[in-house]
Amino acid sequence: MANNGGILKFMAEYDRRWIYLLIFVVVVAPLLQPLGFPISVSPDTEVYHKILADVKPGDKVLFTLDTEFSGYMEIQSGIIASMRILLNRGAKICVAVGHPEATSIPQLVFDACSAELTAGGYQYGRDYVNLGYILPNESAVAALAEDFHSTVRQDAKGASIAGTFLDDVKDWSSWALIADFTTGLGTAYLRAHFALRGTPMTVNVIGVMSPTERPFYDSGIYKAILNSMRGGAELEYLIGHPGPGMTAMDAFTLGHYLLIGFIIIGNIGYFGYSRRQAKKT
């Protein structure tokens, strides 16, 4: 090696495109060829599962998707598994959406749960409704909490909601549960205008939000919290119905190990090369 430092220098200063390439490989490879690593279940997910499994038949659940489409990619396992649990419990489900991109999600979720819908004898209107984009801003959420029917008269497709199970929904107190799935758009509003008044609320958050939402779980405003894709996978494991979350866990594991590897390599490079260079000059 002409340049002193050799491997240590590489460890300190390699091209970042190597990192990008490795991430691609480490994530895509196990998705193509699943390794089937075992997983463990965290206490948060157990609580979440219990709250959803305690919903009684006929309870009205507000199922809110406060996410861009990208967020759906991360928490779809949680969304679908939660929907499965609720359908199996015989809950009446009202889907509402908080981002234009999310308007295509409800259909995907109902398609994924078609077996449960048939098994439960679910009928659109009588047992479940998709209201579409009704949560654009804080005012809209606050109005929904205070007077439901003067805000919403039609579902996502423009059909009147009169005659559906929503007829006896009045305000925040009519909901037995709000199951929120979020990248952080309307969650603060739902929390402030529904959960604070007393509507039970659970959230499934993307990992970035997990630390910032935890105080609300700890202080009892949320009944349960499900974290990122990992939580979704655990929920799938608990209900015994593997789905997108569990298949992604191998990639998830390897991605994390790769990052730890990067940090260690970087630090070896730093102490072995960069810092010595800096001391020389």
């Binding site: 970035v208 939000m209 630390p211 910032t212």
Partner: protein
Amino acid sequence: MPSLFTIPGIINGRFLGLVLDILIAISVIYYIRSKKQIFVRRVPGLDAIEEAVGRSAEMGKPIVCSFGIASSGFDYWTLAGLAIMAHVARLSAKMGVRLIVPTGGSDQSLIVRPVAEEIVKDAYTLEGVGDHFNPDDVPFLSGQQYAYVGGYVGILQRLRPGSVVMTGSHASDAMNIAETSNAIGAITITSGSYLSNTAALACASDYILIGEEAPAASAYLSTDPAQRASIRVQDIFKWLSIGVIILGLIAVAMGSSLVTNLLAT
């Protein structure tokens, strides 16, 4: 929850929140009106900024300073960012360092941009070097967050500044910029506007203004009584929380739930 302050049909018992809201409003008004200069501690971040400008001057390299992507226009963090930027602008005008202020990143940033340009210009004029101000050094990069990052990173790689001061309302774009800044060996000073951002930046920067240190720094630099009053009121409420927590802990330890009950009203 039953409340002490309920009058059926008129008042519904969400009493404490109302009281606290009013208390905040009254104390803000009080401290703005009071003629007394409010003491604000100098946060260490400002020393770091001054040192960074000085080092850039020694090395004869430019300095890059940004106030965020301002995705909600003039908000809390953006205003703090602008105040710190104004400080950096005056320091660099004084020391003769070339200052570059990349702007853009969101549609709302279009409203903030002209103000930022004006601030830099004023700073140069105040230091008596108004003719050194070059409008091209306050470039508009893009209205899109990641196109803005691309432009920002490009500037860093081309100009190799001696230091980068990145405050205000940066979001996920901050990581990219901090990384590049680190890679080119610039002194990196950042502030995060939300928690997960701050956490990631804490290790990627040479110095970080954590959370409210940025608004506090801005209040320290400013002569505007409203800013200093805000910091004062925030401090009072922090003391209040510490006090109530300790009082509550003592009460609970002694078997009384008085404080907890009061908080529930």
